[in-house]
């Protein structure tokens, strides 16, 4: 039995070492190589010069479309974890509603709740349309032009049914900047 135990111990250790090399090192490096070779933009984080289109950021002032009221700190991802009967959540949502009303934006569910990642880069089309009047006024643009811009920025559900349609706030604001 003792001999059997030592034999198994040796096997266990050597199998672990083999797989450490194969699965722990070679496999991720091979995937990294292929990813960097063929999809280098995505593999590196979908970075534009103003940030990653996948990671939300804070937009200051009425001249920009706002994302969801997340903390937008990619070094500390996660939701608020406040439950459905949390007084704190009621208070936070009330404050967010008041803030939106002050900016003359009709509150929508996505614009008063926080996301699961804490860095949601997207809003639903309805959330973007809700901000059109406010943004057009702050920039002195025509409402129709801004509304049209939003409509060109909608990503439909993939293959028509996977996920929900969304607008990427960074892409929308980058397009907004060039609008005259």
């Amino acid at each position: 039995m003792n001999r059997q135990f030592l034999l198994n111990l040796r096997r266990g250790f050597l199998v672990t070492v083999c797989f450490f090399v194969l699965l722990g090192i070679a496999y991720p490096l091979a995937v990294t190589g292929i990813g960097q070779a063929f999809f280098s933009s995505q593999a590196n984080g979908s970075l534009t010069k103003n940030g990653s289109t996948l990671i939300g950021q804070q937009w200051n002032g009425p001249k920009w479309f706002q994302g969801r009221p997340d903390a937008d700190d990619p070094m500390a991802t996660g939701g608020t974890n406040l439950g459905p009967r949390s007084k704190t959540l009621v208070k936070d949502v009330k404050e967010q509603i008041a803030l939106l009303k002050k900016e003359r934006i009709t509150p929508t569910p996505d614009l008063v709740t926080t996301s699961g990642s804490g860095v949601d880069a997207d809003i639903a089309p309805v959330d973007a349309y809700a901000q059109v009047n406010a943004v057009a006024k702050a920039r002195g643009l025509s409402v129709a032009a801004v509304r049209h811009l939003v409509s060109t920025q909608i990503h439909p559900a993939q293959f028509g049914f996977l996920g929900s349609p969304y607008v990427d706030v960074l892409q929308l604001n980058e397009a907004l900047r060039t609008l005259r």
Binding site: N8, L9, R10, R11, G12, L14, V15, T16, F19, F20, L23, G24, I25, Y27, P28, V31, T32, G35, Q36, F38, Q42, N44, G45, S46, N50, G51, S52, L54, I55, Q57, P74, M75, T77, G79, T80, N81, L82, G83, P84, R85, S86, K87, L89, V90, V93, I97, D110, T113, S115, G116, V119, D122, I123, Q158, G160, F161, L162, G163, S164, N173
Partner: protein
């Protein structure tokens, strides 16, 4: 509409996997698949394994325990020493003792409970060489045990149930590695990251915003975390983080990866015991339970969030969006989290803690049924077979004859082992929860007040003991108390079930086969399917109803009250 098509697409994908991945897996375990033998054979040679030597259940179990022990030790050391090892561009320090212990136990037991935040705790070497490595190996160990139990049913008058080392190595090489590899490339194309370049520093000139964005080898880890029903994320936010799960397609593929092996194993079971219908009956039970819980979860999350309504926004046509990502929406998020909680995976694409009371109920009680619908890789099948043994036993009691399952007489030893395996989980969950709510260190954990705070604690122990790993994540669990006590549930929920399963496998393999007669209770018919569902429900409800009443049920019933 989108949700309906998502379900249809999932059924099609899983039906294909059931038939073809299932058949492929059979050929792997029967030794007919050899296309990677140029990697397989050198491993046997280095480790001194004779691939033709069969093991008794005791030897099989001893190998399993020793292998798991070695992985615990090696993984623990790698985490404790991470600051001194390469591939650490953020210069993260060594992981502390309690957190290292919790993490490595959780990964070796196929749980992947995250007391840590990946982006600020784990170096690339720890993510790749410890966490992702365990995603492969713990999954392979679970599947090996299920295959050993299948052999117990399939063989007669046999002293052996296979070779543990061969099962683990072949599962890893032929099943897990190729699928994880190919799908990882699709994930990258969709936007999941895969780089060793360290964090990106952003200065947004439109807006003056500065951000530090953590990066790493994410896609390669993401696919195996789903395929192996492990669930531990590279980032704290897990599958909600866009770098892990960027699009509706990756969300769908994640669910398909999670479900494909547990579902296909029912084909392997049916094929290897000689009657595919027997596997299909077990699959039917899984599908019915899964579908019911998915309906509860999806309907619940399509409702308004009560707190958001109380704050003045009662019109929420897109459902409860607190803790959810816009690109997924309410029902796809619920689909993902129900999939993950019913498979002992535990990855999340939305915050379970912020689900509506009934949505949280669906996530929590899905685990409390014992993770059998369809359950984790391997563990789902062997656990539901324990319930099947209890079911034929109860059926036998009703008509007063010795029960049989698949031609094997089910006698006192089998029933005792199955009952033990079924009861370990609820007893452990309830005792650990009782301990945690009785001591100050336990009560200090919850973020939310009122019944939801209790739910956070109950959810934690349900999750760790079922080796799930998802959380009501408001609970501050990175404390010495939770890090240590959780490992009790993790270890019992894994090994105190695996060992009786292997004992069962050994005993069954040694038995002769009794030919079916007119009086045999048919286990491939709707009567058996209904009875098995009934047994799973009754065991779950009897053990957990009081505890669940104090959490999600009371929360659902407290209309207009906030805590």
């Amino acid at each position: 509409m989108g949700f309906t098509w998502t379900i249809v697409a999932m059924i099609v994908v899983l039906a294909i996997a059931w038939r073809f991945l299932g058949a492929y897996m059979v050929s792997v375990y029967e030794g007919r698949t050899r296309w990677l033998s140029y990697i397989e054979r050198p491993i046997y040679k280095i480790a001194g394994i004779d691939p033709d030597a069969e093991q008794s259940w005791q030897r099989y179990g001893a190998s399993l325990i020793i292998f798991s022990g070695v992985m615990l030790l090696v993984g623990y050391m790698l985490l404790r020493l991470q600051g001194h090892l390469p591939l650490n561009p953020q210069h993260l320090p060594d992981v502390g003792p309690a957190l290292s212990w919790n993490t490595i136990v959780s990964f070796v037991t196929n749980t992947n409970w995250q007391s840590y935040s990946g982006e600020t705790t784990m170096s690339y070497l720890s993510q790749m060489g410890t966490l992702a490595l365990q995603n492969f190996l713990s999954a392979a160990v679970g599947i090996a045990v299920a295959v050993a139990l299948i052999r117990g049913f399939a063989r007669k008058n046999s002293k052996t149930i296979g070779n543990f080392w061969v099962d683990v190595i072949r599962t890893t090489l032929y099943i897990l590695l190729p699928i994880a590899f190919i799908v990882a490339i699709i994930f990258i194309a969709q936007g999941a990251i895969q780089t060793l370049a360290g964090p990106a520093h952003i200065h947004d000139l439109l807006n003056g915003v500065r951000q530090t964005i953590p990066r790493g080898p994410v896609a390669s880890q993401e696919t195996i975390k789903q395929l192996g029903t492990n669930g531990g994320g590279f980032f704290n936010a897990n599958g909600a983080m866009p770098f892990e799960n960027p699009t509706g397609l990756t969300n769908f593929l994640s669910m398909a990866l999670i479900l494909c092996i547990p579902v296909s194993l029912t084909y392997v079971f049916g094929k290897m015991v000689g009657h595919i219908r027997q596997g299909a009956a077990v699959l039917a039970v899984m599908v019915i339970i899964f579908g019911s819980w998915l309906a509860i979860g999806a309907v619940a999350e399509h409702q308004a969030n009560p707190a958001v309504a109380a704050a003045g926004l009662s019109h929420q046509p897109t459902g409860n969006m607190e803790g959810k990502e816009v690109r997924f929406g309410d029902t796809s998020s619920a689909f993902y989290n129900i999939t993950s909680t019913q498979t002992s995976t535990g990855s999340v694409d939305s915050a379970n803690d912020s689900y509506t009371p009934m949505g949280g109920f669906a996530a929590m009680t899905g685990m409390m049924l014992g993770e059998v619908s369809p359950g984790g890789v391997g563990s789902g099948l062997y656990t539901i077979l324990l319930f099947a043994i209890i079911t034929v036993f109860i059926g036998g009691l009703m008509v007063g004859r010795t029960p049989e399952y698949l031609g094997k007489k089910i006698q006192a030893r089998e029933v005792k082992l199955a009952a033990f395996g079924v009861l370990v989980m609820p007893i452990t969950v309830l005792i650990l929860t009782a301990v945690a709510v009785s001591v100050h260190a336990g009560r200090a954990g919850p973020l939310n007040a009122g019944p939801h705070g209790f739910s956070e604690i109950l959810y934690t122990f349900t999750s760790v003991t079922n080796n799930n790993g998802s959380a009501f994540a408001g609970l501050s669990s990175n404390t010495a108390f939770y890090n240590i006590i959780e490992t009790v549930g993790l270890l019992l929920g894994r090994f105190a079930i695996m060992v009786p399963v292997l004992a069962l496998a050994g005993g069954l393999a040694a038995k002769n086969v009794v030919p079916a007669s007119l009086g045999t209770f048919r286990t491939d018919k709707p009567m058996f399917i209904g009875l098995l569902i009934g047994v799973i429900m009754v065991v779950g409800a009897l053990t957990f109803f009081p505890a669940v009443s104090l959490g999600p049920i009371v929360e659902q019933l407290s209309h207009g009250k906030f805590f």
